[in-house]
């Protein structure tokens, strides 16, 4: 009888431990669980295909001089429901950078700034995507400084110009980090 209860306790303990392993999202300390990253699956691919089509549509609109049409195509892209994946974040960051440039071209400095800020939420690590967004933000600030100077706000314009320079410098630093990482990986390419 004593042995029966002992074996039952062991069974429950083993079952509980294994269940905890399976529920661990990152698989830490659990044998056989290699990575928490989801595999490339049809939903990710569907999002990438939609993004590709909408970028090309924006190309056509832009070539026709239809900036609102190009912006509308990219707004559809960033509003598309997307699965959680690194690729999705990077594509959204790039789309936000393009939206910021288009808005800037139309003189919508505040709108461009908002796009950059949202894009940076999707690109937090040192990647070309983040570097590119910082570069665009620097240009947004440059444009803002020019507008302030034209409006006779010299002191404020100088401050914004300095901020633009610091953003562009940061962009360069990020690009350098990317290059350093690539060299550390032995130039490995996907």
């Amino acid at each position: 009888m004593k042995h029966g209860w002992l074996l039952l306790a062991i069974a429950l303990g083993l079952g509980g431990g294994a269940a905890a392993c399976r529920s661990e999202p990152a698989g830490a300390g659990c044998p056989g669980v290699e990575s928490s990253s989801p595999p490339i699956d049809p939903p990710v691919m569907a999002f990438l295909s939609a993004a590709r089509a909408l970028h090309h549509e924006a190309d056509i609109r832009e070539a026709e001089g239809d900036l609102p049409g190009a912006i509308a195509a990219l707004e559809r892209l960033v509003a598309t429901s997307a699965p959680r994946a690194v690729e999705v974040d990077e594509v959204l960051a790039d789309a936000r950078a393009r939206l910021a440039e288009l808005r800037l071209e139309r003189g919508d400095v505040e709108g461009a700034q908002r796009e950059v800020e949202q894009g940076l939420q999707h690109a937090q690590g040192p990647t070309y995507f983040r570097g590119h967004l910082l570069e665009v933000e620097g240009r947004v600030e440059e444009r803002r400084a020019a507008a302030l100077g034209d409006a006779g706000h010299g002191a404020e314009a100088a401050k914004v110009r300095a901020h633009a320079v610091s953003l562009l410098e940061e962009a360069v630093r990020v690009q350098e980090q990317v290059i350093e990482h690539a060299l550390a990986d032995g130039g490995a390419r996907d």
Binding site: G4, L8, V44, R52, H56, E90, G131, E135, Q175
Partner: protein
């Protein structure tokens, strides 16, 4: 054909000397509890059915003793059965619990067991979500180039998806 004049064939014929002696022996045997024999047992059974008597104290004691001994044996056997049942249940629970947890019914993936070489190869073949940074050797141009980038990303991941589908179907 029977002869009614012969005493053995005539039920009303007076008993013979032989029959009288046998009858007397049977009567004596019935009075003697230690007497044995087929006819004695038959006569006792008939008498008990017709007019049962109390059991002899010794006979009663023997019966009680036998019943108690049988009860003890049954109790010991039942205790053994209960113990064995619990032990077996625990072992089955142990095995079932471990199997249920580690066995992924649909995919059949095993956790806590080293995968077979084929399975390990198929795991390695699965392309997971990751940064697209390695697809780009140079920094992005200050303006434009987004469509070229998404083209490259989509094509690379389409290839990954194909590999994953083939790995899932087990044709790699």
């Amino acid at each position: 054909m029977s002869d009614p004049r012969r005493p053995i064939d005539d039920p009303d014929a007076p008993p013979s000397e032989e029959e009288l002696a046998a009858s007397s022996a049977l009567r004596d045997a019935l009075d003697d509890p230690s007497a044995t024999g087929a006819e004695v047992e038959l006569a006792r059974s008939l008498r008990s059915a017709w007019s049962p008597r109390d059991l002899a104290p010794e006979q009663h004691a023997d019966l009680v003793k036998e019943a108690v001994a049988r009860r003890d044996t049954v109790r010991r056997r039942r205790a053994t059965v209960v113990r064995v049942s619990f032990g077996a249940s625990a072992v089955v629970a142990l095995a079932a619990g471990v199997l249920l947890v580690v066995w992924n019914g649909s995919g059949g993936s095993m956790v806590g067991r080293p995968p077979s070489p084929d399975l390990a190869r198929s795991y390695a073949a699965v392309a997971v979500s990751r940064s697209t940074q390695p697809l780009f050797t140079d920094r992005f141009a200050p303006r434009g180039g987004e469509s070229g980038r998404i083209d490259r990303i989509a094509m690379a991941r389409a290839s990954d998806l194909r590999d994953n589908e083939f790995a899932k179907w087990g044709v790699r």
